[in-house]
Amino acid sequence: MKPPRFDYFAPASAQEAVSLLAEHSDEARVLAGGQSLVPLMNMRLARPSVLVDINRIPGFGLVGLDDGQVTLGATVRQGAALADSELARRVPLMTAALRHVGHPQNRARGTVVGSLAHHDPAAELPAVALALDAEVTAASARGTRPIPAGEFFVAYYTTALEPDELATHVRFPVAAPNTGAAFEEFCRRTGDFALVGVAAQLTVDDGHVRDARLAFVAMADHPIRARKTEAALTGKAITPQTVTEAARLTVEEDGLEPADDIHAPADFRLSVLPVIAERAISLAWSRATAQEDGR
């Protein structure tokens, strides 16, 4: 199918972009990688009358590496982020998740920030942002504001961004030493959206979990932060038993409302969740302890 007509702008600056969004607001969509938006437009499920293409804005493609945090601009490509060894070191959870995002042909154009702003409920990166307490910077003609991940993901395809706002950056904290991260998902084909996904990151100190971060993909219409499971892991020395017990808690987390659809029934997703969680937690643990052992 072909998309319907729209007015197209390719601004050369962020300022121009937000002016366009202020002017066209409800009718405008931002075009970054296009890997989610253009399929919707081709199927005529999305019919924006204005498209603001941000791919020509210099500076949006930059990765900032500072002490303690990493900043990705709006047009940093998923493929470039995945291949970046500095990012793999600093934000291993994002690198682990990126492997599961589509295929290389999508990641060549798709952007990290775009995936967050689009917020498909089965997308992997929103769970990573939530697990890491990332922060999205939203810009508009009214100024800029930071939006913490905990407030950013609202519902299906809905974020805290106002219609006239553009997500310009995402900031991730740098992983502490002795941190292991893992992303596991269950889907029928590699590259599919997750039917169930778990992002897990553990920081270990003297053989015990000092910091546990866990978030679920596709268990509600937004990523779920698994606070109960995190609490069960914190302070513990991880044994197969503690992992299994913690994984059992995953189905008791608040807010679980897995989809019941043609891809999978809800009770199936709930039965798979602890299995995927166990794998992710175990893998994160072995990576964290490998760090601690200096391997």
Partner: protein, 161 residues
């Protein structure tokens, strides 16, 4: 009122200038505007891979890009890879492994694998599978495509030495 945008684009080394509506997909520009019909349309959703082209040497889904976005860019389509008398290593490998039947998905796969090998001389089998995962084939069952991919990787490595 239909608005058109100026598009200057290089395809397979040749420069083109056209005025195009914003809604024209890159895939349709290649096929309908400049007549390069080797790039196929399967899903127009970014799943099947039959529309794969190289943008600046990197494999992308041309059905998910508007032609205007490729202003100033260099695109390589299947028509720009090899010749019937001198197929590239991937084409040779696909032929030798009998890795096609109807051929609809083939152009996309050749472009995708060529792009992979041009950017990554020694891809792991995981990386090859990840690239192939972005292509759907209704005929072959993929076994011979995987054999062809492995042979192409080997011959690229051999050509390097």
């Amino acid at each position: 009122m239909a608005e058109v945008h100026k598009l200057s684009i290089t395809v397979n080394g040749e420069k083109f200038e056209h005025w195009v509506p914003a809604r024209l997909l890159l895939s349709d520009f290649l096929r309908d505007t400049i007549g390069l019909t080797g790039t196929h349309l399967g899903c127009e959703q970014g799943v099947c891979g039959s529309c794969t082209v190289l943008l600046g040497g990197e494999a992308i889904r041309s059905c998910l890009m508007f032609a205007v976005q490729a202003d100033g860019a260099e695109v390589t389509t299947i028509e720009g890879l090899g010749e019937p008398s001198q197929p590239n290593a991937v084409q040779r490998a696909m032929h030798d492994a009998h890795a096609l039947q109807c051929g609809f998905c083939t152009a996309g796969i050749v472009v995708g694998l060529t792009g992979l090998l041009q950017n990554c001389a020694h891809p792991s089998s995981e990386e090859v599978l990840d690239t192939l995962g972005g292509h759907l084939c209704r005929c072959t069952g993929y076994v011979n495509i995987r054999k062809a991919a492995a042979a192409a990787v080997a011959s690229y490595a051999a050509e390097e030495e």
